[in-house]
């Protein structure tokens, strides 16, 4: 059995079609990631076209080489086979990150907004825009009574009450930075970590740890599925 396996492996690694097939497979990984909107979960939107083009180019190169293949080639390094297995695993196992887990170990250090959005009416501000605004104008009395319509996931930070949060990403999930808002959860609500909620309500002032802070007081809460584009720039 063992010798059969090693003979089979040797045969595969000597095959002239292995390199073009692995190349095309990786091209398909990129194209499929673009088509299946998997990229929305992994990368900033600015990189999506680059990934799609690279995928198409890789597939074309693979097909071209497949047509030209014919001569014997040296034994392919084992690493190429391993990379092909990884490509198959990526296709078979889609990413299912826990946003709360990802955010919990990262500091809440949002960068400046990519465009000025503070002039939007309060009910049109996204959660991230609210966080940026509260950081630049921290006096909670300024925002008391403002209407709020936001959506986000439930974030559990050690030692803090549950927040509603979003992840901002400049490059890929590796640099995801959380933006969270304190919520005065209704008594009957039972928010679970990583659940997504759409919340309508008002901004109120509450004392937390002896300090007055802006807190979202929901008047209507809806459990929603994760949005198609859960990351914000």
């Amino acid at each position: 059995m063992r010798s059969f396996r090693s003979r089979f492996l040797r045969h595969v690694r000597r095959s002239t079609v292995l390199p073009p097939l692995v190349l095309a497979l990786w091209g398909w990984v990129l194209v499929w990631s673009s088509l299946s909107s998997r990229l929305d979960l992994l990368l900033n939107a600015a990189f999506h076209p680059v990934v799609a083009v690279a995928g198409v180019v890789l597939m074309l190169l693979g097909l071209m080489q497949l047509r030209l293949a014919g001569r014997r080639v040296p034994v392919a390094p084992l690493g190429w086979l391993i990379s092909a297995v990884v490509a198959l695993l990526i296709l078979l196992l889609p990413p299912r990150p826990s946003f709360s887990d990802l955010a919990a170990s990262r500091p809440d250090s949002l960068s400046a907004a990519p465009s000025l959005s503070f002039f939007l009416p309060p009910e049109q501000r996204t959660l991230t825009e609210w966080v940026r605004l509260l950081r630049s104008q921290p006096d909670p009395e300024l925002h008391a009574g403002d209407p709020v319509r936001i959506s986000g996931f439930v974030l559990d930070r050690p030692g803090e009450p549950l927040q509603l949060a979003r992840l901002t990403v400049r490059c890929c999930l590796a640099d995801a930075t959380p933006a969270g808002l304190p919520v005065d959860w209704p008594a009957e609500a039972n928010p679970q970590v990583d659940q997504w909620f759409s919340i309508e309500g008002t901004m109120v002032v509450q004392e937390r740890n002896g300090v007055p802070v802006s807190v979202v007081k929901p008047t209507r809460m809806t459990l929603i599925p994760r949005p198609e584009r859960p990351l914000e720039p």
Binding site: L39, N44, D175
Partner: protein, 319 residues
């Protein structure tokens, strides 16, 4: 199990984002090999120990990619017989000295004018110093075996013996550089086959580097590192460690740094922007196609030491 799922997602993000740049780098390296015969331009590159890395560093403007993309180009430069200084100058400075990275740094920090010149200047100094340092090591102990062999094929017989070259033509004139057959007229099929092999080999290493980076950053709370933000020396060290772990492309690292710029010392901020493009976990695998493990260790330690000194100096001046 949740952590494993998160690490798997970070791994996919890092890998898929880096792949197009790796492809770009391999394509440029392949085209350079095909369109420009080695003898035409490699012999014109200056061999002066100071000029060679400067030329290499400035070549970065021709390849606006991040650090993953320039590894194959640097390898092609070295394999073609370019001076070591040019190859290393390009390898270490090009990820910062290119129009996209300079523009993104400016876009992220328009109010920090000192950073707009300190980042390219720092990258330039580090590249010169690393090139000079690595130049002191004999090529046989510095370059990875396959690269060394390919490089020796591109060097004139007058400068290298047949025994060292292992293969070649006996009787070639001492003053006339003997170029390998593959460099003269490369068929499209050969070029495609060679570039495919190079891409797949680098891809394997990129997979390993991305996996390592994803695992480390999933289990190492980033907030621990940034908690050290206000201490002059510790903040520089913490941000250096963060740059090693996060492994994001140099084209976007300035935007990531913007997120914690207010919490850390200026020296730490600069250290993050200088060290990441030269050394990070994602690059660890890719460097093995260029350098021996010992040379990689020397590069990582020397770059870290220089970045630490630069960061400390900036904190002394700015604080």
């Amino acid at each position: 199990m949740t952590r494993v799922a998160t690490a798997w997602a970070i791994f996919q993000g890092l890998l898929i984002e880096a792949l197009p740049f790796l492809l770009l780098g391999v394509t440029i390296a392949g085209l350079a090999r095909w369109l420009v015969p080695q003898s035409a331009w490699v012999r014109r590159l200056p061999r002066n120990p100071l000029l060679a890395p400067i030329v290499g560093a400035l070549l970065g403007f021709a390849l606006p990619a991040c650090e993953c993309g320039n590894v194959p180009v640097a390898r092609r430069l070295l394999a073609s017989g370019a001076p070591l200084g040019t190859g290393f100058g390009f390898l270490f400075a090009a990820p910062v000295l290119n129009p996209i990275v300079l523009a993104s740094t400016w876009a992220a920090f328009p109010d920090k004018t000192w950073l707009l010149w300190a980042r390219p200047a720092g990258a330039f100094v580090i590249a010169l110093a690393l090139s000079s340092l690595l130049g002191l090591i004999p090529e046989s102990r510095l370059l990875q075996a396959a690269l060394l062999e390919e490089r020796r094929l591109s060097q004139p017989l007058s400068s290298i013996g047949l025994l060292e070259r292992r293969t070649g033509l006996v009787g070639a004139g001492p003053s006339k550089p003997a170029m390998p057959a593959q460099s003269t007229a490369l068929l499209p099929r050969q070029l495609l086959s060679h570039s495919t092999g190079e891409f797949l080999s680098l891809l394997t290493l990129l997979v390993l580097g991305s996996a390592l980076a994803a695992v480390v950053q999933t289990w190492l709370p980033r907030s621990w590192l940034l908690a050290l933000g206000s201490a002059p020396t510790l903040s520089v060290l913490a941000l250096m460690l963060l740059a090693l772990v996060v492994s994001v492309c140099s084209s976007v690292d300035a935007f990531l740094a913007l997120g914690f710029a207010a919490q850390v010392t200026p020296g730490a901020l600069l250290a993050f922007l200088l060290l990441g493009p030269v050394v990070d976990l994602k690059l660890a695998g890719l460097f093995t196609v260029l350098l021996t493990p010992r040379a990689i260790a020397i590069t990582a330690l020397s770059a870290s030491l220089m970045v630490l000194l630069i960061g400390q100096w900036v904190n002394l001046v700015q604080l």
